[in-house]
């Protein structure tokens, strides 16, 4: 009909416009998240790589790691702690008593959080070629990432033995890695630490707002530790000797032993690497929830003061074995080691800047037996009650991970293992004993004659124990010394060979990594 033809042109035009609209429309389907930029779009410059590097540290100081479960697992795998009482959670008690199982929910998140650090470090490394706009900064970040990745792998290999190695971020859901031989894991760690030592500056290069970042000395210290663990004492010694002892980048012992465990003396001359915590004043702790508990305003405190504090939860107390390790005039030592009272609080001690005195009633839970006397003894290292009286306070005291006193003791052990003269060994040990407020008589002593290698090892084992008590090195020492047969009876009362050397691989990993045993190592550790 004519009428309709009249409109046909109009309609045709309309439809043409519609079709054009439609075609241009399909491009609108390409939408990306305006809140979170895409991975390749974001990691394109040095600032982004710096932020990625910071996220590795952030994971490290999270609840499943250094802020909480890391010290629990280390301590409970040592012979230095005992249960504070019934309040210790069932999953923790499992570990303390050697009854861990693959679904233990302290062990499982720790494994996951260590791999989160690795994934985040791998992110830095994958995208580091994009940091050309500040090549120096990016190179340092690469060093930091490698240091932190090595730390994480060292934790993994120490606790679980053969573990999967990921050196790049996972791209698809089928990028499974099998368990690698312990030697290969160590090889990876050594490589990372060598690279890190080469890339990282010493501490003087960092300003105040960068305190806590990994340094060359931290890398060398960790490298030395790792070499010792693999039995390569010569390389270990070489690494330790690279740590400067004088000048702006030099490390030395503090005069006061407790400076290493109190909030006011963080980042002192003895501290080689520490994990940073801050108390926001709201008395909160980031209990987490998801993995490592991220959040732009998440709490930055550590709960250590709460967990171990004599007047708070007191979940773990010193073991009797450890309490009796200290030299005491009552047991024939020429001097009672002052480090006993630096390490522990006992009933009658004053705290809260001298304003309060500790009673039995203040200390909830179990008692200890020290030199035959039953009393309540609790931890003092890292606790904040020296300056306050509070039954709930997570706190912001930094966790010193490596301090110079340990390097001296490490060197002593290297020299002893390498067959150096006794004087060389005792020389290192005596530096530690000579700290002004410790001032223990130098080796040899009647109790530690330090003549044979065996004598020297005994002195080293003793000295490491009392100097580094509850600093999360004892269980690593036990692993090293157990292999060498230095113990007549195993320090762990429950120890069963071919089982308790390692923790169980988390069931979650076994269930979801079909290639876990593809390298010929069975999915689960022996005995579980």
């Amino acid at each position: 009909m004519l009428f309709d033809k009249k409109y046909l042109g109009l309609i045709g035009t309309g439809m043409a416009i519609t079709i054009l609209t439609v075609i241009s429309c399909e491009k609108d389907l390409n939408k990306t998240d305006p809140n979170a930029p895409e991975v390749p779009a974001y990691f394109t410059n040095s600032a982004a790589i710096l932020a990625a590097t910071n996220s590795v540290y952030s994971a490290m100081h999270s609840q499943p790691l250094v802020a909480r479960e890391w010290f629990f697992i280390h301590d409970m795998r040592s012979d230095q702690v005992a249960s504070g009482g019934g309040q210790l959670g069932a999953d923790r008690a499992q570990i303390l008593n050697g009854a861990s199982d693959p679904s233990n929910d302290i062990i499982t998140p720790q494994w996951a959080a260590l791999y989160t650090m690795i994934h985040r470090a791998n992110t830095v490394l994958d995208f580091s070629p994009n940091g050309k706009d500040n090549a120096a900064l990016t190179a340092r970040n690469v060093g930091e990432a490698k240091f932190l990745r090595a730390w994480a792998y060292n934790e993994l290999v120490s606790m679980w033995g053969p573990v999967p190695i990921y050196t790049t971020t996972v791209k698809t859901q089928n990028d499974f890695q099998p368990r690698a031989k312990e030697a290969d894991v160590y090889k990876q760690i050594v490589q990372d630490l060598q690279d890190a030592a080469a890339a990282l500056p010493e501490k003087s290069a960092y300003g105040g707002s960068d305190l806590g970042r990994a340094t060359r000395s931290a890398a060398n210290a960790l490298l030395g530790r790792v070499y010792m663990q693999t039995g390569d004492y010569a390389s270990a010694k070489a690494a330790f000797l690279k740590i400067p002892t004088s000048g702006a980048d030099g490390y030395s012992l503090t005069n006061r032993y407790l400076d290493n465990f109190e909030e006011e003396t963080e980042f002192n001359n003895e501290s080689i690497f520490e994990v940073v915590f801050v108390d926001k004043g709201d008395n909160n702790f980031n209990w987490g929830g998801d993995n490592v508990g991220d959040g732009p305003s998440a709490d930055q405190s550590t709960v250590r003061n709460q967990e171990y504090c004599p007047v708070a939860w007191r979940n773990l107390i010193p073991s009797n074995v450890f309490l009796n390790e200290f030299e005491n005039t009552a047991t024939g030592a020429p001097k009672t080691d002052p480090r006993f009272s630096f390490t522990f609080y006992q009933t009658g001690d004053v705290y809260n800047q001298g304003k309060s005195t500790l009673t039995d009633g203040d200390q909830n839970g179990n008692s200890s037996v020290v030199n035959g006397v039953t009393k309540k003894v609790s931890w003092r290292k890292w606790m904040l009650m020296y300056k306050e009286k509070s039954s709930f306070h997570p706190g912001g005291n930094n966790q010193r991970l490596i301090r110079y006193a340990e390097i001296l003791l490490d060197l002593a052990e290297c020299e002893a293992e390498l067959g150096s003269p006794a004087a060389v060994v005792t020389g290192y040990l005596n530096q530690v004993r000579a700290r002004p407020d410790v001032a223990m008589p130098p080796y040899p002593t009647t109790q530690f004659p330090c003549v044979t290698k065996n004598d020297l090892i005994k002195a080293i084992m003793h000295e490491r124990s009392v100097e580094l008590g509850i600093e999360e090195v004892r269980n690593i020492d036990i692993i090293r010394w157990r292999k060498k047969g230095y113990f007549t009876t195993d320090p762990l009362s429950y120890f069963r060979a071919n089982r308790d050397e390692l923790l169980p691989i988390p069931q979650m990993e076994i269930d979801n990594n079909p290639k876990l045993d593809a390298g010929g190592i069975s999915k689960q550790n022996p005995g579980y």
């Binding site: 309609i11 389907l29 809140n35 930029p37 910071n54 952030s58 801050v278 998440a298 988390p506």
Partner: protein
């Protein structure tokens, strides 16, 4: 002549603007409607027509289009080819016809929408006419015939004018005159068909009698109604898919806030479970559960606008609701159709030139319908000794006489021992108000029509602190501004205010109602901080919270503003080709305020600072639809084809702000401390191409095929599009000639269809576009500065960015294949109707979160993948009997739905998805488990095997707690759990499946009747064969530690009371008698008298005289909901939804129960 001058001028103007000599302008009058048309109404239609020197038949053809009528005439008797001129501007049809036909010696008679033209002098019965009317083809020559005369009346005996009388199989016919009389010449053996719109066709065989009296029955059958389907309408008789319609009347029988609640029990295969306090949407599932991870919410399409839910919508505005159940019907909505589609069409004005005003109002009272027997104070004292005594625990200090006989507060005369609080009475509210007011004004004429309404709804909860209030406004209108163009708009605006229960988790207020000690009073007037009393943990030996206190003092509100508007432009290109362009906006502003003031009951609740937590959610959804519809018949072939382009995009903004106040005087963040704020923005877009063709041949053979191609922004590039095809066929057997002898069968149709639909997991019903996966599931985003590390002790020194996902660029919709067969049967003129459907639906690519190994470093975050499959098979039957004659008219309709659900596979063999575990409700073990081969989220736990009667019995039985010393943990009186695997100990592997929350069948029965001016409706609704996990019974009779309990605990096992199924009372529950087991799984079947209504309509005549014509209709009614419930279920209410966590349907954690209510209402028309 003045008149001619006017027309000449008009013509001149048209010539001036260059139009052709023959110009027609028009404004169309009534479209073909389903309402009966009177002859006068037809003649009153106004038309515009200007024609010069055109053939009569051409002009008649034009008029027939303009006035939407048909001319019936014989081109031999009418000078069809004579050329004439007509000029009419806004003239009544009768005037135009007079002017046109009188000079030609032709007179006319109106019959329905047909106008029969006759040459003067012709006898009506001799008329031989051409049905097509406008083609002018010669009709058959007259034959020798008997003249039959008669009268046609309606069921009340009133004469019917304009009834078409046709000899079947010929083009011969006539129409009745104003007195209902007709005359027609027919041969014996021929069949006369009497038809008029709105009445059922009557066929009479011509025999020897020459006089016929015919009574026509008005056609209330649904089979001829027009059904709204996606992007169009279709006659019910030609439908090939499974589509159910619910009328406005049915929807508004129940006094409920939303349409979905009103749909409960009205449609077979549509399952509605009420779930929570007023203002909370129910759980709606069409044809079962199609997804493991995502909700069952169907897609709602309101006046063509696809949206996520019906919250804040006023059901009084609804003209009809259509439920598209099977894939062949729903696939037109493609990627959003798996859960079915509910199409809501709102009211429009009538074109009768009158303004109608309707006022609809009711007010009612709601009360809880059931109470559970709980211990009173004396019983509690007795129970405490039994429970604590068994575990060697002393009497709690409060219950020792020195304290128990203290006044409940300073100055009170009553002691704790004398106090006997019924916490159910304290928490529940009786006679809670429910009311709705709605006023609507509608009207229209041939050019414009409108419907506008305003409504108010308020429902108080039957428990403290819960209510919902809504005010709404609507205006719908359309305007024809030329023969070609029509513009219309629908605009809905509503504000809602819901006070909701703010307690998170599964510990519902009812759990505290059960647990609260009866010796404590609700209030403590001496308490300046809130005025309530609460228990003291150690002093009372138990630590529930006063359930009334937070319900009254905390203020959790959601204020919603919703604007839903569409405008459209219709372009009628020709009779058979129409174009519609639609633009729409759906805007929701949801403001969720959580305010917790400072209060302290000296016990378990102590808020030292007021918490303020505000969240604003803004959803803006824009719709843009272009639609072209072709509809034409070619002889017996009828084709309807539709092509659509649609684009729907959604923006979502979320803003949160929170802080604390140190006083209760300021309830805002003004001057607050700890202020934290955040906001996010998201977008998505769906682009669709839709095509559909329906074809029928002679109304017998029906076919329909459609395809929708959807593109959704949330998937990865290259995977954004997917096609959703469907096809269906139907066979109307009753139209076959061999069925003519089967008189009883008035309708018989077989249908079958197959199609593919998708599910994109609408988020909590907020927007139809969004997915529960977020808007960017494939796109791994960096969490920029979402962590930090305080280098050097400074919080700002180490902002940290990371990502923790692996993308799955292959992720796409869960797609479901569905097959449906159905049959419709109508007997005895559709007095008896039956519809049966059988369907199979299978989803192959359900999305599950496939866990990654934690060594990936993603914190165990999984990767979503399309990895699981599930099927639902079912059967639906709907039957009705309709007694429409006589003074007593009644109607009975029943329906039954049977659905079987089975998970076919998960991501790996032997995978299981456990859910619902909660330490309070059975110790923490999961309550449901989803595995291949079973219905989704089947209840899961241990089986019980009676009670140990002696220590010897314990020693013989399996170790009840593997790894423990049975002598310490288990004793006589404890539950014996079944050792399913026979290893001598009860472990996790002895758990088994304990049934499904999915009913074996659901059913309903509706009976309605009218007698004179009275009307009655009774509606039964029920579910049968489902299980409920009565987790609340763990609280009521679990006895794991001291709390108040149900009286059942007084029947606990003791050495002297051994014939009981309640185990021994012992604090600490060493045998873990509460663990999830068949003890707590109950039959959830129920039958409910959902509604009973009795109404009375004041007779029209009396009303007219009484109100002097002001009031045209006045009906008053009373009704009751949930009057009776028949069930064996022991909890408050067998209708159990979910606490809105995944895979926990049918677990009763003490949910808000259904209320029993009574209303009185009026409906007035002016």
């Amino acid at each position: 002549m003045k008149k001619n001058e006017f027309f000449n001028q008009l013509m001149y103007r048209f010539m001036r603007i260059g139009l052709l000599p023959l110009v027609l302008i028009s404004c169309m009058t009534a479209v073909v409607s389903a309402s009966p048309t009177s002859g006068q109404e037809v003649l009153d239609r106004k038309i515009n027509l200007i024609a010069e020197q055109r053939e009569v038949r051409s002009i008649l053809s034009e008029i027939s289009r303009l006035a939407a009528i048909k001319f019936v005439y014989s081109s031999q008797r009418i000078p069809a080819h004579q050329k004439v001129s007509v000029q009419a501007r806004d003239k009544r049809l009768s005037e135009v016809l007079d002017v046109l036909l009188q000079p030609l010696d032709i007179f006319y008679r109106v019959s329905g929408n047909q106008i029969v033209l006759m040459k003067k002098g012709d006898v009506a019965g001799d008329l031989i006419f051409n049905k097509g009317g406008d083609s002018g083809t010669p009709a058959e020559p007259p034959s020798m015939a008997t003249e039959i005369t008669g009268k046609v009346t309606n069921e009340n005996g009133e004469p019917l004018a304009g009834v078409s009388v046709l000899i079947r199989g010929t083009a011969k016919g006539t129409a009745t005159n104003a007195s209902g009389n007709f005359t027609i010449a027919a041969n014996p053996g021929e069949t006369l068909e009497f038809s008029i719109v709105g009445y059922k066709l009557v066929s009479v065989k011509v025999g020897s009698t020459t006089s016929l009296n015919i009574q026509l029955q008005s056609d209330a059958s649904k089979l001829n109604e027009i059904v709204v389907i996606g992007y169009g309408t279709q006659k019910r008789s030609t439908l090939t898919g499974a589509v159910a319609s619910v009328s406005s009347k049915t929807l508004n029988e129940l006094p409920v806030a939303s349409i979905d609640q009103a749909l409960q029990g009205r449609v077979s295969g549509l399952n509605v479970t009420n779930n929570g306090s007023p203002g909370t949407s129910p759980i709606v599932a069409i044809r079962g559960i199609s997804s493991i991870n995502y909700a069952t919410d169907p897609l709602y399409v309101i006046d063509g606008f696809p949206t996520g839910n019906l919250a804040n919508f006023d059901s009084k505005d609804v003209e009809s609701v259509e439920v598209l159940k099977d894939a062949s019907a729903a696939a037109i909505y493609g990627s959003r159709a798996t859960n079915g589609v509910i199409i809501v069409t709102t009211k429009k004005g009538r074109r009768d030139g009158r303004v109608q005003v309707n006022y609809d109002s009711y007010v009612g009272m709601q009360s809880p319908s059931k109470k559970i027997d709980l211990l009173n104070t004396n019983q509690y004292v007795q129970y405490e000794r039994a429970l604590d005594g068994a575990a060697g625990i002393g009497v709690p200090p409060r219950m020792q006489p020195v304290n128990f006989n203290q006044p409940i507060y300073a100055g009170a005369k009553q002691t704790f021992a004398q106090t006997n609080t019924d916490w159910q009475d304290a928490y529940f509210r009786k006679n809670a108000l429910i009311t709705q007011q709605n006023i609507s004004i509608s009207g229209g004429n041939s050019v414009s029509r409108f419907y506008t309404s305003a409504g108010y709804f308020k429902q108080d909860g039957i428990a403290q602190g819960l209510s919902y209030e809504r005010g709404n406004f609507r205006i719908n209108s359309d305007h024809k501004f030329s023969r070609v163009f029509t513009f219309g708009e629908n605009l809905f605006l509503s504000v809602g205010n819901q006070h909701y229960e703010g307690t998170g988790g599964n510990r519902s207020p009812l759990t505290n109602v059960v647990r609260m000690q009866p010796y404590l009073p609700v209030y403590d007037p001496t308490n300046k901080l809130g005025g309530f009393m609460g228990p003291h943990n150690s002093f009372d030996g138990a630590d529930p919270t006063n359930p009334v206190e937070p319900a009254v003092l905390n203020q959790y509100t959601i204020k919603t503003l919703k604007v839903l508007g569409t405008t459209y432009l219709d372009i009628n290109l020709t009779n058979w080709l129409k174009f519609r362009s639609t633009f729409g906006v759906d805007y929701i502003n949801g403001y969720n305020q959580k305010y917790v003031p400072i209060y302290n009951d000296g016990g378990t609740i102590a808020n030292s600072s007021a918490g303020i937590n505000n969240e604003r959610q803004l959803f803006t959804t824009l719709l843009f639809t272009q639609q072209l519809t072709f509809d034409k018949s070619f002889g017996q072939h009828h084709i309807n084809a539709t092509a659509v382009f649609e684009r729907q995009g959604q923006n979502y903004t979320d803003e949160t702000a929170s802080g604390n106040q140190s006083t209760n005087d300021t309830k805002t963040l003004y001057g607050a401390t700890n202020i934290a704020a955040n906001s996010t923005f998201q977008q998505n877009l769906i682009i669709s191409y839709v095509g559909r063709v329906t074809y029928d041949y002679a109304g017998k053979y029906l076919m329909s095929a459609s395809i929708r191609r959807d593109g959704l922004s949330v998937w990865a590039p290259g995977h954004k599009f997917e096609n959703f095809p469907s096809a269906s066929v139907g066979w109307k057997i009753d139209q076959e000639s061999f069925m003519h002898s089967a008189r009883a069968i008035s309708e018989l149709k077989l249908r079958a269809g197959y199609g593919l639909t998708g599910l994109n997991a609408a988020v909590g019903g907020v927007g139809a576009n969004g997915t529960a996966l977020g808007d960017y599931p494939w796109d791994v985003g960096v969490q920029v500065n979402q962590a930090l590390y305080p280098f050097g002790g400074g919080l700002g020194n180490g902002p940290a960015s990371y990502y923790n996902q692996i993308p799955n660029p292959l992720l796409h919709w869960e797609t479901t294949k569905q097959f449906n067969v159905g049959a419709d049967l109508g007997l005895y003129d559709n007095k008896l109707t039956l519809t049966a459907e059988y369907f199979r639906r299978k989803t192959d690519n359900l999305i599950l979160d496939v866990p990654t190994p934690s060594s990936f470093g993603l914190g165990g975050a999984g990767v979503n993948g399309n990895v699981a499959s599930m099927e639902n098979n079912g059967f639906e039957l709907q039957a009705g009997y309709h007694q429409r004659e006589g003074a007593f008219k009644w109607d009975i309709a029943g329906l039954v739905s049977v659905i079987r659900n089975k998970v076919l596979s998960l991501n790996i063999a032997n995978a299981s998805i456990a859910a619902g575990g909660d330490g309070d409700f059975g110790g923490g073990a999961p309550l449901t488990n989803t595995v291949a081969g079973r219905p989704v989220q089947s209840f899961y736990g241990w089986k019980t095997d009676g009670i140990f009667q002696s220590a010897a019995d314990v020693a013989k039985g399996p170790v009840q707690l593997a790894g423990t010393d049975p002598a310490k943990s288990t004793a006589a009186g404890d539950i014996r759990f079944k050792d399913q695997n026979g290893d001598g100990k009860i472990t996790d592997s002895d758990r088994t499946f304990l049934g499904s929350y999915l009913p074996k069948f659901t059913y309903s029965l509706n009976y309605s009747a009218t007698y004179k001016n009275f009307d009655l409706a009774i509606f039964f609704q029920g579910v049968q064969g489902n299980k409920v996990f009565n987790a609340e019974r763990v609280i009521v009779e679990g006895m794991s530690r001291l709390f108040n309990s149900g009286t059942a605990v007084l029947n606990a096992w003791t050495p002297s009371n051994t014939r009981t199924d309640i185990p021994r009372a012992i604090s600490g529950d060493p045998n873990q008698n509460v663990r999830p087991s068949d003890r707590w799984v109950e039959d959830g079947s129920y039958l409910r008298v959902k509604n009973l209504m009795i109404g009375y309509t004041i007779p029209a005549s009396g009303l007219q005289s009484l109100t002097k014509g002001a009031v045209t209709r006045f009906r008053v009614y009373i009704s009751s909901q949930n009057l009776l419930t028949f069930t064996k279920y022991k909890g408050w209410d067998p209708e159990v939804g979910t606490r809105r966590t995944s895979l926990t349907n049918g677990i009763d954690y003490g949910q808000y129960p259904s209320a029993r209510s009574y209303q009185v209402g009026v409906q007035v028309g002016f």
